[in-house]
Symmetry: C2
Subunit: 353 residues, 2 copies
């Protein structure tokens, strides 16, 4: 189904498409290669997947509606070039401009001078942006597993415990709940570390009075989840409470307007303005799409010119960070519906221990 939709988009722009991002290969074939492989999608919807010998048995077993070609000892790029030279039938070929490296591109363009290479990144991203029910199901399951992770983090808050210890327990319980891997480095950022939006987990021991940002994800059937809770360890101070409630309200207000067809920038700006008016800065985007990539289209930014699409899955995650003091971020995953968003994240947002 998705291949037909994608085909409708690319067929007027090019005669065939080369796919090399393993996530996209999985998206179209059901097989996730762990070594460099190429998928050639022709205009007649023929799928040819070229895999190194060590992936061949696995590819045959796990792919659907795809011809599998065993590259034996040949380099994937050499085989691809040879195939395209021999076929000599394409004038315009689509490729993933935000995945393919310059090195591969220069080899292809130098050896295949009669072919024009055209980026299909946007067509591909916009196809992936809208999820089918199976994908929503996997994303919902991935979100449920992350809920288990949050519960684990809460249960492990203890004075003197290291951030990495908590991260270990969180990942373990998510694994046991069915996660295939953590789609990004688990963030357990306590005290001053919580002021660093991309801190991961350190050997810092948590203390009473800390904000503890828990930003975690799981993977189910290749689909990612992403959620953040900020735990107040001990009774929050006045300033902590003020920041926490500000971020929580900004989250809620943005969420209220999110629905299919709404201008993305308007969703971002609601949270941004609230934070600004309260005298703080909001230094990142409001959120992002989630799917096979933990960050994918759409980007929820005040610069966006796009609208939210029905059945896309997005995060909303405003944050406030005060150097050396701490930070708060609250992030849920939402399915965009016609007239509202559906929260895929079940953990409560307000956590004081």
């Amino acid at each position: 189904m998705r291949i037909k939709e994608f085909h409708e988009k690319f067929s007027s722009a090019c005669e065939a498409v080369i796919i090399s991002d393993p996530k996209n290969i999985y998206y179209f074939t059901g097989f996730y290669p762990h070594s460099p492989s190429y998928l050639l999608i022709e205009n007649d919807l023929n799928l040819k997947l070229m895999v190194p010998e060590l992936e061949y048995e696995d590819a045959k077993k796990n792919s659907k509606n795809t011809e599998i070609i065993n590259l034996k000892k040949e380099l994937p790029i050499d085989f691809l070039i040879k195939t395209l030279q021999e076929q000599n039938k394409f004038k315009i070929l689509g490729f993933e401009s935000e995945y393919m490296t310059v090195s591969t591109y220069l080899k292809l363009t130098q050896k295949l001078k009669s072919i024009e290479f055209k980026s299909i990144t946007e067509l591909l991203n916009s196809t992936r942006e809208v999820k089918i029910p199976k994908e929503i199901e996997y994303l919902e399951k991935a979100a449920q597993i992350a809920d288990v992770g949050i519960e684990t983090a809460i249960n492990n808050i203890e004075e003197g415990k290291m951030e990495i210890e908590i991260a270990g327990e969180v990942e373990y319980n998510m694994r046991k709940a069915g996660s295939e891997k953590t789609p990004f480095d688990t963030i357990i950022a306590s005290g001053p570390n919580s002021a660093l939006p991309h801190a991961t987990a350190s050997e810092r021991k948590i203390q009473k009075g800390d904000f503890i940002i828990v930003d975690i994800g799981a993977t189910y059937k290749g689909y990612c989840s992403d959620m953040t809770r900020t735990i107040c360890f001990d009774k929050p101070s006045q300033k902590q409470l003020e920041i926490f409630n500000l971020v929580l309200n900004a989250h809620q207000e943005s969420m209220q307007v999110a629905r299919a067809g709404v201008d993305i920038k308007n969703v971002d700006v609601i949270a941004r303005d609230m934070i600004k008016k309260a005298g703080y800065e909001f230094i990142h985007s409001l959120g992002h799409g989630v799917g096979l990539d933990v960050h994918e289209d759409p980007t929820l930014s005040f610069k966006s010119k796009n609208k939210l699409k029905q059945n896309s899955v997005i995060t909303i995650e405003p944050g406030v960070y005060i150097p050396d003091f701490g930070g708060v971020r609250i992030e849920d995953m939402y399915q965009v519906l016609k007239d509202k968003v559906k929260n895929l994240t079940k953990s409560k947002q307000n956590i004081c221990i």
Copy 2:
């Protein structure tokens, strides 16, 4: 120190270098960015790191000898182009051709027409290939953590247990032993799955009579480990024993000749020929370098034209895979010394349960 060595290599080829692979940024500055960032290394060894606002505090805290530029709301690529246009002082600029995407490359080359872009991938890879004592120390620690993982796998072999359950326990104990993350998907491949070199971990329940391939890695201070053991669950059959001993001997024989200055292809060919002579196929390379990337230079292949370098760290991992029957792979990490290799992996190679 490494920056000086790298500078010696690139200074005759170009006037400055743009680095965007976060691993390389970490390598030169000590700071690992989690959002797109650019490091500009000029010929006078000035390091300028351009980071988005949400990385700024972290970058200031964790980088060394580097000027940190806060991009605020500007896109990293736009800022980089603007900076290079304003400076207007470089004619030849080095870049990572095997990391930079076509999309970024086309933007740079279209906006900076007077600059010639030159790949410094090989110079960079050959710098990273040879490790300094600190890096060896981190790699050794990462290998020790993977040893804990192997021990965990062995202790968890039990009839009816799922591969993913064992993977979860392995990752948990490696985390507790100090691993920051698993540098690749943990492989627990049992029975017929062991015949798929890149299978990861499934819901298959392990059974007596299985080969169980355990291919795992840990990360310490960004440095990866990679090791594989094949466990015979129950008394091995005659055929299992034959394959196991063949792979073990191929490993040992290759390892015996590995040392600084030896032709890499000769090391690969020893294992390859032994496996071939016994009537089996060897469908992947003998091994690879390990460092900040779990796969980096050198590639231990029969096609290699290079020699092993002193203080590189490599894996040796011959394997035999028989579809529907099972497979064996045995992989250790070695530091290449002047006249031998030093094994960084301590787990015993012969495991029967």
